[in-house]
């Protein structure tokens, strides 16, 4: 749902499996998140992540420069995933409670 709105998280996640250049990032993100980022969106997020020191370019002779996670980037990804995990756990628990027998009647009363 909201994954398209968080290109930095998608990029950090993609780079967690190793350095990649722009095109490889787009293919990987489409593969694991089913999200097709636009090229402008991708490079906007890359610029922001590099500015914050979360990713860095790898030496390259061609025009397609690969990027990799920095230590700060790895920590930021870990922290973002922990936050997401909290929401996932809470959402899952609430959904289970919602689906329990008798909960439908309580919802009607409320």
């Amino acid at each position: 749902m909201a994954r398209e709105n968080d290109p930095p998280l998608l990029i950090l996640t993609s780079l967690a499996s190793g350095p990649k250049h722009g095109y490889a990032l787009l293919l990987d993100i489409e593969d694991f998140a089913a999200v097709r980022l636009g090229p402008g969106t991708l490079y906007g997020a890359i610029g922001r992540l590099e500015e914050r020191g979360l990713i860095e370019p790898v030496e390259s002779s061609g025009r397609t420069r690969p990027y990799r996670l920095t230590a700060s980037g790895s920590a930021a990804l870990e922290s973002a995933l922990a936050e997401l995990r909290t929401i996932v756990d809470e959402g899952t628990a609430r959904l289970r409670a919602w689906a329990r027998p008798g909960a439908a009647a309580a919802r009607t009363v409320a």
Binding site: H21, G22, Y23, L26, G38, P39, G40, T41, L42, Y43, G44, I46, G47, E51, R52, G53, G62, R63, T64, R65, S72
Partner: protein
């Protein structure tokens, strides 16, 4: 960006990237063109891709406009200097309000002076506080300035500082002369009924404005050449934010004063007798208040740039 081996399709992609700021293109332009080639090959770019690039490019331009672009240190420096320029502009507006408000108490019924007096007092007290904040900002930069002078950098900042000093001396001489002349005139003559005095007064305002902006330009030129420590940059950003907040308070206080006098004694603004029908919307108040509002908006933009660059400074990426 490199120019070799480009076909018509690539030229089109390069043209599309003009929507980005030049500094951004210099850093990421080649990579983005290579990505666009990988995406569409020799085929025409899809509208989806074009729109995404244009939207992102305009976003980068807007970001540079708001944040100032460049490294975090540079953004703090530029943001703080913008606040300094805004303060100088604000001082000019403040002079105008001060001039337009002369003798407002005499024209306002005694029972209705409380609110305008409160607005005016807040304006005066916060103006003094704001001046102290600006001087503190200068004081924070003094050790770095002394270092620059010791390293022989005086010649790089000499010209703007000498121009500012010369304009300051001229302003002091002109102010003394104008004040002596004003004392020999009636209040009516001082307030626009003497054409020659009015002309010289406008010239004096221009001289004061030139003096203020010469000092701001000298500070800007100096700040470009000295290297601030992280602590000094944080202090400058904090002082810039506090100065901007002071300008917001002063603008509101001026509006309160204006509104309260307009309600209690609208005849004051047109210099008419008490009780006469008159409009408080006169140019000699509208213009300075508008200048104060514009200066406050500029200061807030500058302070925002400086403050938003601080987290990146803390990360050590500045």
């Amino acid at each position: 960006m490199g120019e070799t081996g480009r076909g018509r399709g690539t030229d089109g992609r390069v043209r599309l990237l003009r929507v980005y700021p030049a500094a951004w293109r210099a850093r990421y332009g080649d990579e983005l063109v290579a990505l666009l080639e990988d995406l569409d090959g020799a085929a025409r770019m899809s509208w989806r891709v074009r729109l995404d690039v244009v939207r992102a490019g305009l976003g980068e331009r807007a970001r540079v406009l708001v944040l100032g672009g460049g490294a975090p240190r540079e953004r703090v420096r530029r943001g703080s200097v913008l606040v300094l320029y805004a303060w100088m502009l604000f001082v000019l507006g403040g002079f105008g309000v001060q001039k337009a408000s002369e003798h407002w108490q005499a024209a306002t019924p005694s029972g209705e002076r409380t609110l305008p007096a409160l607005g005016f007092d807040v304006l005066v007290v916060v103006a003094a506080l704001g001046s102290v904040l600006v001087l503190l900002g200068v004081a924070v930069a003094l050790p770095a300035l002394a270092g620059l002078v010791r390293r022989g950098g005086w010649r790089t900042i000499r010209l703007p500082i000498l121009v500012a000093v010369a304009l300051s001396v001229s302003t002091v001489v002109a102010t003394v002369g104008l004040a002596a002349w004003a004392h020999s005139l009636t209040a009516a003559a001082r307030n626009g009924h003497d054409a020659s005095y009015a002309g010289v007064f406008v010239g004096w305002v221009v001289l004061v404005a030139a003096c203020l902006f010469a000092w701001a330009a000298a500070a800007s030129a100096t700040a470009r050449r000295i290297s601030f420590s992280l602590r000094q940059l944080r202090l400058e950003a904090g002082l810039a934010a506090a100065t901007s907040a002071a300008m917001v308070v002063m603008t509101l206080a001026a509006a309160v004063w204006w509104g309260a006098v307009a309600s209690a004694a609208p005849w004051f603004f047109e210099g008419r007798p008490a009780g006469a029908a008159a409009s408080p919307l006169v140019a000699n108040v509208i213009v300075p208040v508008a200048v104060m509002v514009c200066a406050t908006a500029l200061a807030l933009a500058g302070a925002t740039r400086a403050l938003r660059a601080l987290p990146a400074l803390a990360d050590g990426s500045g």
